[in-house]
């Protein structure tokens, strides 16, 4: 196939751009890409409630806005409640518009957690998308409860007495799924087709749905912007960020990995884990710890697959959905 025909084919596939180019995200920002993909799949009949964070800041600075869909930013903690109010109003008006809440991991795992739980419990017809870059990036890379164990941030620096973040990454998906909502899933910017598919599926749910999208932040993670997709893919292939889907707290799908990569492949390109490669027994211990976490994920979600690994967006559509619980 020539470049020419490929180009034509793409041209024939109109993609709705809810988030335009020209915003102010850093080069290689995973969240910017993930938000664009989300809107591509969701289409124009949506209303967005965006929590405070990088996404909100880099997409709008008065008088500019990169959004082509109705968008409201209120506060850091209340995206889920604002979305719930929008949904209640649109329902009363009899309008068929999907409400989507967008938040970072801080606006989801931490400060927005209570509002999120309330919205899920009340069963609002809202899709909540968390762009998980594992830290408070907008305020300069501080630790959140999503920051992985042993990662260095500005508030969990590595030093003689500390090895980075002391605590584990909160398992938000399990907590969300425990609300027994119709649909909850993880996705990754490294697998755009899978991500779009999950967005479409979540949109169709009449009730609360939740997506946790792994979205590298080159600035906060300390890798080149050109490596974002590679790093995100390694998170999946090591088992550290399993791609799974749950319906009413039951696992219905997991993306299998045939050639499981060791966690060092994922950690090495990232500055936030640099201290783990020092010649230090504590560093070795933490590496072992992180490997155990990845192995645990592979085990509980049954991630080991025997088909060729999915390497890109084209392949992701053909992904075999399975996993131990599914079989």
């Amino acid at each position: 196939m020539t470049t020419e025909t490929l180009h034509d084919l793409r041209g024939d596939q109109p993609r709705f751009q809810g988030l335009e180019a020209g915003h102010r995200a850093c080069q290689g920002c995973g969240q910017a890409l993930a938000a664009r993909l989300t809107l591509e799949a969701a289409g124009p009949d949506v209303v967005l409630a965006n929590a405070t964070g990088c996404l909100e800041v880099f997409t709008t600075a008065w008088p500019d806005s990169a959004w082509r869909v109705p968008w409201l930013h209120s506060l850091f903690a209340n995206a889920a409640s604002v979305a719930a109010g929008m949904e209640a109003a649109l329902k009363m008006q009899g309008r068929d518009v999907k409400v989507i809440a967008l938040a970072g991991d801080g606006g989801t795992f931490d400060i927005g957690f209570q509002a999120l739980s309330g919205m899920l419990e009340r069963g609002h017809n809202v899709l909540f998308v968390c762009y998980d870059n594992e830290g408070y990036m907008n305020t300069g890379v501080q630790r959140s409860s999503s920051t992985p164990h042993a990662a260095a941030t500005t508030t969990s620096p590595a030093g003689v007495a500390r090895i980075g973040k002391r605590h584990l990454k909160k398992d938000i998906l399990s907590i969300v799924a425990a609300h027994h909502i119709p649909y909850a899933a993880t996705a990754s910017v490294a697998y755009p087709t899978d991500l779009r598919k999950k967005v479409r599926r979540a949109i169709q749910v009449d009730g609360p749905s939740f997506l946790q999208v792994h979205a590298p932040c080159p600035l906060g993670w300390g890798h080149g912007g050109e490596l974002s997709i590679e790093v995100a893919r390694l998170a999946v292939q090591t088992g550290l960020f399993p791609l799974i889907e749950l319906e009413r707290d039951v696992l219905i799908g997991a993306m299998p990995i045939r050639r499981v990569r060791g966690i060092k492949d994922y950690l090495r390109p990232q500055g936030r884990f640099r201290h783990l490669f020092a010649d230090d027994p504590r560093a070795r211990e933490e590496l072992a710890h992180l490997q155990a976490l990845a192995d645990h994920n592979i085990e509980v979600y049954g991630l080991r697959g025997d088909r060729p690994d999915t390497l890109d967006s084209e392949g992701a559509d053909t992904v075999h959905r399975g996993g131990r619980h599914f079989a």
């Binding site: 124009p44 009949d45 949506v46 209303v47 409630a49 965006n50 909100e56 800041v57 709008t60 600075a61 008065w62 008088p63 806005s65 959004w67 082509r68 869909v69 109705p70 968008w71 409201l72 930013h73 209120s74 506060l75 903690a77 209340n78 889920a80 409640s81 604002v82 979305a83 719930a84 109010g85 929008m86 949904e87 209640a88 109003a89 649109l90 329902k91 009363m92 008006q93 518009v97 409400v99 209570q114 509002a115 739980s117 309330g118 419990e121 009340r122």
Partner: protein, 395 residues
């Protein structure tokens, strides 16, 4: 025809007459009865609305914000700790210029914990950019609630209707509830020009840099000042519809020759009216500051014409500073010819009863040569021994 209704029930019925499409609230004494009544109106099919029983006041305010921006009339109610928990959202709502109505069932703020009435809660958010209207009685609460929706929607500003907890919310009073036709004739259907709509997408709540920020804030300030006109117009139109006399900004009650005035906000006004009847020897003009935000400077000056002494009663404290209302009143009157001396007292904090006998003490207090802010109903027996000597003693 007047009917005897509990204040909360009357407010709930007034809200229902305004037909909000979304109501969100979280229970807190003394607001609870309002929301419970609304819930029963919804359950009985007498009010068609989404009642969102949220997990916190923070979310209650956020839900109504989202609903109003999505194009529906919305209402919430709270008090005390709930106001404080909402405070971040309250500033946000007004900054976004979202029309909303909230009842604040005024209650003290913890610590010490008190479920009883004063006005520390609404005073704590006086600079949140909301219109604040205080009600002297339950008829006023009904009338003000209905007017509030029209004011909010015309000004694109949120309105807080402040009613004293228990004193009003839990008291049975005979009052008139308007008919649905009357309300429909006064209050047009909700329309918010900036409503979020996929067919005409806009971005709301964007980041605003220093090059525009001051202007946005100034516009908010001017919108509040300009709201005075809408408050006056709403009172006039509603008065014409319901036949009741309504003072929109400041109510002045008493003889024009009176040299002494007492100004208050809320239900203490009624107490003072009763007291004046009992102690009728001195002519006294009673002032009710209905609109605290916007602060009606001109109306207040007009209402104070001819007064040489003005006692301002506070239902809240600004610890370490002068009175909240008193300071603003003093500043409004400053520089005008023959401005009265302003005496300033806090009274009835945390539900302490404001008895009729307070009245002669207030009149006696005006002889103080150097008026300063104090709490007039301190009981020195309950102060520690050292403070007893220095504490503000009743004049």
């Amino acid at each position: 025809m007047p009917q005897a209704l509990e204040g909360s029930q009357a407010i709930a019925r007034a809200v229902a007459l305004c037909q909000p499409q979304v109501v969100a609230a979280y229970p807190i004494t003394p607001q609870t009865h309002i929301v419970e009544h609304i819930a029963s109106l919804v359950a009985d099919g007498r009010l068609r609305c989404e009642l969102v029983s949220v997990e916190s006041e923070f979310s209650a305010a956020s839900v109504v914000l989202g609903a109003a921006c999505a194009g529906s009339r919305a209402y919430t109610a709270t008090a005390s700790q709930g106001i404080l928990l909402m405070s971040e959202v309250l500033f946000n709502i007004s900054g976004l210029r979202v029309p909303l109505v909230m009842t604040c069932a005024n209650r003290a703020v913890s610590a010490p914990l008190s479920i009883w009435n004063d006005q520390q809660d609404s005073m704590a958010v006086r600079d949140a950019g909301w219109i604040q209207l205080y009600c002297a009685d339950n008829q006023e609460a009904v009338d003000t609630t209905i007017q509030a929706f029209r004011i909010a929607e015309r000004c694109e500003l949120p309105v807080m209707v402040c009613v004293d907890g228990f004193t009003l919310t839990h008291t049975l009073e005979p009052l008139e509830l308007p008919s649905q036709d009357m309300v429909d004739g006064f209050l047009p259907p909700y329309r918010f020009v900036r409503a979020l709509d996929p067919l005409a997408p806009i971005s709301m709540g964007t980041l605003v840099g220093p090059e525009y920020f001051t202007e946005v804030r100034q516009m908010h300030h001017e919108a509040l000042l300009a709201a005075e006109k809408e408050i006056v117009a709403a009172a006039a139109d509603w008065s014409a519809a319901c036949g009741r006399e309504l003072a929109p900004l400041v109510r002045a009650d008493g003889p024009p020759e009176a040299r002494i005035g007492i100004l208050t906000l809320g239900s203490v006004f009624g107490t003072l009216q009763d007291a004046r009847e009992r102690f009728a020897d001195t002519p006294v003009r009673l002032l009710h500051l209905r609109s605290f935000r916007p602060f009606p400077v001109e109306a207040l000056r007009a209402a104070c014409q001819g007064l040489s002494e003005l006692v301002v009663l506070e239902r809240a404290l600004a610890p370490g500073a002068d009175g909240i209302v008193g300071t603003e009143v003093r500043s409004a009157l400053m520089g005008i010819d023959g401005a009265p001396r302003v005496h300033n007292f806090a009274v009835g904090l945390g539900g302490r009863d404001v008895p009729l006998s307070i009245y002669p003490r207030l009149l006696a207090a005006i002889h103080e040569p150097h008026p300063r802010m104090g709490t007039i109903d301190i009981d020195p027996r309950y102060l520690p021994p050292k403070a007893r000597a220095t504490g503000e003693t009743p004049p």
